[in-house]
């Protein structure tokens, strides 16, 4: 089942919702979350949340100021959590 999950993500060219993936694999969404967490821990999948970027200083020729980072910046919209295959960069 765990390998089937990896194969399904690898073979699917589209973006899938968690519900769609659960239906394809015929597993409960809660079980699928656990399976995904397992592969994230193993380093084969990566889970991301846009908006989780840490605060950073921005420096330019005009000087430095502190960007609050996506996590604290009030203009960052809450985006859905995503999971994708982890590849070597």
């Amino acid at each position: 089942m765990l390998y089937q999950l990896l194969h399904e993500i690898e073979a699917t060219p589209d973006t899938l919702s968690l519900g769609q993936l659960a239906a394809k694999l015929r597993v409960e969404e809660s079980a699928l979350r656990g399976m995904i967490d397992f592969w994230v821990r193993k380093g084969r999948l990566r889970g991301d949340e846009v908006g989780a970027t840490e605060a950073l200083p921005i420096c330019s020729s005009a000087g430095c100021h502190r960007c609050p980072g996506a996590a604290q910046c009030p203009f960052v919209m809450k985006m859905p959590a995503t999971v994708s295959l982890k590849r070597e960069t």
Binding site: S17, G19, R26, D48, V50, C73, S84
Partner: protein, 576 residues
């Protein structure tokens, strides 16, 4: 006391090779009293096979060398069968067991009823309907943003130009500073510049309200899902659209959000596309110009600009994908979509308040600083006059801006020093385009020539009365947004301000009578050229100076070419 098993047969069967090894290992553990006393032998054997570091350390500290030796031998025997993934085989068996159990126990009807969320999702995230629905919702958002906010926008504008300016002048008069450069600084620098941007707070609040409702209801995640899938279809990395959506709020965190992309080339590609997304700072420019040139279709034009930004990003992305970023590979993406829910009023208010207060803070810091620099340059005489008392056309700012206006912006239809100067200061932040225009066109009506003809009581009464009228007018616009026109338009209250009239006249004059086309070209230029220095700094930090400069040159060139196409093409076709 040693642990006893409740059942002789374990619930989960891990398959023959693993079960054989587990039995051997469990027997060795059971023979060690220190370990058997604390843990069930089979359970501990499973944990050790799954490489639980804490338990392994405990076994080592217990001096159970026979268990460690047996574990090594077990791995040696299992690795030819499972590679280094013995733990995966164990976890896999457990998930298979749980899944089978669920299928045996949970009775699902042959035709299960869909939840409301699933039914809505079937339409909203549909492959063919998803994008039109997303575009329809965004169009509605901009219609609300422009229509509902207009009365309050007018109220703030009139209050700044009237009572606040009057009281500032009266105060200056009281301390004998009227008709001095201090008076000019406060009225033409601070009130015209910062006030010119603060006028748009109601528009931004309306936009933030609409976005908060979409986000808190769970729709925004669907919008990301639908557009993300679309990006995938056209060959761009699906995950790219998430930072791009963040770019609608502010391009700086959007550049940082590209970190969620694993591949550096994908990060750079997305980071170069993010500035095409219309950030909130560009909205005041859109609102001002649509109110002047497209008053009947303001929402539609603003929506069109946002859409053009997305299309430009897609077009440039596809081009870069086929040239500089060929090697990047496509990867599938799974998104967790939250269930739909009614928006929570405190959360919505917090969303609006945080964003609006950040915008106001920005106006009092960066925009104030930019306004003061512009004022200073407009106060310095280049062709006669004295400091703070020079015709604005002879000021340092006008002379410096005019060179660029005549060479770069003339073919685009907006080649005067005012527009050129506003676009240059717009590199600081896009709101500064509006504050600079307000200062430039306000400068002719100099502080020195102004007199206070109202008392503070009259100003206060006007402010309160006009606020009440604006509040009533705001309520009247709400049914009209959904197509119910209960109140006929009162044309007498929709008079354009002096600033708006001046901008229209200048555009008509500089474009040779094609003011509307020139204004559209100006808006497209503002949409597409480099957003601000903070975004550039973020790009430089994330991707290096080379990519940052490529972005600046590419975006500004594209902005210039599209603006040229709109103005010259429109003229050729007899439009505008």
């Amino acid at each position: 006391m040693p642990h006893t098993t409740l059942s002789t047969r374990p619930l989960v069967n891990y398959g023959q090779p693993i079960e054989t090894e587990l039995e051997k290992l469990a027997a060795i553990i059971a023979a060690n009293p220190a370990l058997a006393k604390r843990y069930p032998p089979r359970w501990l054997a499973i944990q050790l096979l799954e490489r639980d570091d804490d338990l392994l350390a405990e076994v080592q500290s217990a001096g159970a060398t026979e268990v460690l030796a047996a574990l090594d031998e077990t791995f040696n025997r299992l690795e030819p069968l499972f590679g280094a993934d013995v733990d995966v085989a164990l976890a896999n068996a457990r998930y298979r067991f749980v899944n089978n159990l669920v299928h045996q126990i949970v009775k699902t009807p042959a035709n299960p009823t869909e939840s409301l969320s699933d039914r809505v999702d079937r339409i909203v995230t549909n492959q063919w309907l998803g994008i039109p629905i997303f575009l329809g919702i965004m169009w509605f958002v901009f219609k609300i943003t422009t229509d509902v906010a207009t009365p309050m926008l007018d109220w703030i504008s009139n209050t700044l130009a009237g009572p606040i300016t009057h009281r500032t002048l009266a105060l200056l008069q009281a301390v004998h500073l009227q008709n001095t450069w201090v008076s000019s600084l406060l009225v033409d620098g601070v009130i015209a510049g910062v006030g010119g941007v603060l006028v748009f707070v109601p528009v931004l609040m309306s936009l933030y309200l609409a976005l908060a409702l979409l986000e808190d209801s769970g729709y925004m995640a669907r919008a990301a899902f639908v557009m993300d899938r679309f990006m995938h279809i056209i060959g761009l990395h699906g995950k790219s659209f998430l930072p791009m959506i963040v770019g609608f709020g502010c391009n700086v965190p959007a550049v940082y959000a590209t970190r969620t992309l694993e591949n550096r080339r994908d990060r750079i590609l997305t980071g170069l596309l993010v500035p095409f997304m219309s950030c909130g700072a560009r909205l005041p420019v859109y609102v001002l110009f649509t109110a002047i040139f497209f008053p009947q279709y303001a929402g539609a034009v603003i929506f069109g600009l946002y859409l053009l930004g997305i299309l430009a990003a897609i077009g440039v992305g596809m081009l870069l994908r086929k040239t500089l970023f060929i090697q990047t590979e496509r990867t599938a993406l799974v998104m967790e979509l939250p269930p739909y829910r009614p928006p929570n009023p405190p959360t919505v208010w917090q969303y609006i308040w945080e964003r609006t207060s950040a915008f106001i803070h920005n106006a009092w810091t960066m925009i104030l600083a930019a306004s003061l620099v512009v004022w200073l340059l407009m106060a310095i005489p280049m062709r006669g006059g004295s400091f703070g008392n020079t015709p604005v056309n002879d000021s340092a700012f006008a002379v410096l801006s005019n060179g660029l206006a005549q060479t770069v912006f003339k073919p685009l239809g907006f080649g005067n020093w005012q527009n050129s100067g506003a676009l240059v200061t717009g590199f600081v932040a896009k709101e500064v385009v509006v504050s600079t225009l307000a200062q430039e066109f306000n400068a002719d009506n100099t502080a020195a020539s102004r007199t206070v003809e109202t008392t503070w009581q009259e100003d206060l009464r006007d402010t309160v009365v006009s606020f009440g009228q604006a509040a009533v007018d705001t309520l009247k616009t709400i049914p009209a947004v959904v197509g119910i026109n209960l109140f006929p338009a009162d044309t007498t209250t929709d008079q354009p301000s002096t600033l708006m009239e001046t901008i229209r006249a200048e555009f008509e004059q500089v474009s040779g009578g094609h003011g509307t086309l020139a204004a559209l070209a100006f808006l497209v230029f503002v949409l597409l050229y480099t957003p601000c220095v903070a975004t550039l700094a973020a790009q430089r930090q994330e991707f290096g100076a080379r990519w940052m400069w490529l972005g600046v040159v590419g975006q500004t060139s594209l902005a210039w070419m599209l603006a040229l196409l709109i103005f010259q093409g429109g003229k050729l076709l007899g439009l505008g």
